[in-house]
């Protein structure tokens, strides 16, 4: 795979960051995060890191988890329990997009000035990783909807995965543990479902609990 093609893919990821800052509905946000997840899991493969059979299986597993399993389970969660589709922004969409643009410019500037031997040829790799990381934190802080926060967390995790799998050969093995982060994300999703179940049966439960107060 040539440098140009990898950089084109990464440009799409950067665009998806902007889109995710501007999107008001959860389903679209979920699709964007799934797209980022798939691209990010493919990058080490595209960079031509020597692939063992284990490595290929691992890449496929990550794509499946990030691109299919997690997005699907979130969609199921919103369908099953009645969660608002609005992401409830604290910072408005237009302001968010401006922040996103600033973020991408800054990330590119920082990425250029850091000397990392492993990814010297790929000019967009490190900037994209930084952008994803900060974008995830931004979504976490600027959206009130619990699912949007989880999606922000996953975006952040994608950024870390991108840093880990590309900048250092040794780190590759480490970041395979990053799969554990996905499990944590799963736990959060479960927590949201529980919360909504809780809200549905609120009156029954609290009354019950009050009589049993510790």
């Amino acid at each position: 795979m040539t440098i140009l093609q990898v950089d084109t893919l990464l440009t799409l990821v950067l665009l998806s960051v902007l889109f995710s800052f501007g999107s008001s509905r959860l389903p679209r946000l979920i699709k964007l995060v799934a797209f980022q997840g798939i691209v990010v899991s493919m990058i080490p493969f595209l960079l031509g890191h020597d692939m063992t059979a284990g490595g290929i299986v691992f890449t496929l597993a990550t794509i499946a988890i990030r691109g299919i399993i997690i997005p699907m389970s979130i969609i199921t969660a919103i369908n099953r329990v009645d969660i608002k589709r609005e992401v409830e922004p604290i910072i408005g969409y237009n302001a968010s997009i401006v922040c996103g643009l600033l973020l991408i410019v800054t990330a590119t500037y920082i990425g250029k000035n850091l000397n990392i031997p492993a990814v010297k040829d790929y000019t967009l790799l490190f900037p994209t990783a930084i952008a994803l990381l900060v974008a995830g934190m931004f979504l976490l802080m600027s959206r009130r909807n619990a699912i949007a926060m989880v999606l922000g967390y996953i975006t952040m995790e994608n950024g870390i995965y991108l840093v880990g799998t590309t900048i250092s050969v040794k780190a590759r093995h480490i970041v395979e543990f990053g799969i554990l982060l996905d499990i944590l994300a799963g736990v959060m999703i479960m927590a949201i479902i529980l919360q909504n179940i809780k809200q549905t049966f609120d009156d029954v439960d609290t009354a019950h609990l009050r009589s049993l107060k510790e």
Partner: protein
Amino acid sequence: MVELIFLIPFVTGILAFFLPKAVGRWSLIGTGAIHLVLSLILWDTRPKAVFDQYFAVTPEGLLSLLVISLLFFLISIYTVSYLKESEIHTENVFTGFMLLFLSTMTMVTVSDHIMVLWIAIEATTLASAPLIYTHRSSASLEATWKYVLICSVGIAMALLGSVLITLSMDIGNVDVALSFSAITGVAGKLDPFWLKAGFVFILVGYGTKMGLAPMHTWLPDAHSEAPSPASALLSGVLLNCAYLGIFKTNKIMHAAGLGSFSGAILMVFGLMSILAAATFIIKQNEYKRMLAYSSIENMGIIAFGTGIGGIGVYGAVICMIHHSLIKSSLFLSSGNILLGYGDRFIKNTGDMVSRMPKTFLAFFAGFAGISGFPPFGIFIGELFIILGAFRAKHYIMVGIFILSLCVIFAGFANQVMKISFDNSKKTIRLKEKPGLVWPQYILLLTSLGLCFFVPESLYQTIVDAISAIGGGF
């Protein structure tokens, strides 16, 4: 052999989900006792681990391990009496996760590999979240949500930090195992820029879990919503485990000659935590939240002392040990208060001195200990830290430090006086059985004893641990 110490609670924890209630309760105490015996054996023999790439017995790990063991054993005795008094629907789940929590925290203390440590700390989050959710109220759900979300972000930061440390190894052309002991050995060759960046991310990451301000926001909620035995474990042990991660990374920094950099950051975070605690503790109206803020204060003190170096590090480790002993006793006593008055607000309690005299004794002595009164160890620890700060000529910082401690003492004392001596119309629903007060007495007596007599092997272990991060006399 070393691995057994976290595998045994893991297995009994899984079993406890399926055992009948009564057996589950006794399995808590049984596992606690076995764990205590095993950690004493480890302390004495210091064996090599079977998987020595991943696990190792280190002096700083042993210190935390011994504290965990002693605390868990005493807390398990309390828990059995506590469970009889309170009504928790899913008791099996509670005991099961208590044991799993013990297992994961033990794993933190014996892990040597960077990633195994990371996994173990993440596992503590997963094992303790259900404990916070035990009461199934909407408030406890919110606390659990906050805890999982904030700590996950923190843990992700720590992962990034670990990745950056491997990057510094790559650039420095170092090829060793990814274990703390191996990296510390070759620290001089690592790339300093990326090592510093890695340390900052790890400090922020594990600092979140440790409760350093401004990442502490999960802590008061989680500690106040969890049942008291679980709060005692969270505050007494979990925070130390997170500190251990920072401690080990700090060792690499010192070996690489970047000790002053890491020290300065630790001091700033430490002071911020103490200031945050001072701001919030004054207006607290719930006693468990008050204790939680006091934990933030003490974690700040520990980070501050570690940052100062020299005699301050010794003070920090002393503070860590005594904070665990005293704070867990306070949380257990707060469990009695909650059972007795049935209310978490300070204004609805009062007159504890005549209503629950035994709990009063434990709570008041614990308050004296945690505020740094002389017969307890925190006094010595804080004294060493202040001395160390004066020696290193950090006059302004030490001024802020002492002032904040005074404010915290004033706020704390005010609330404790209300709980102890104010009038109250409530009838107490609790009989103070021995199992509900003796664990606190033993914890406090241990702290008292350690103040007058420090066994030679304990002293030596502390000195061994701190010499690697610029501590000593």
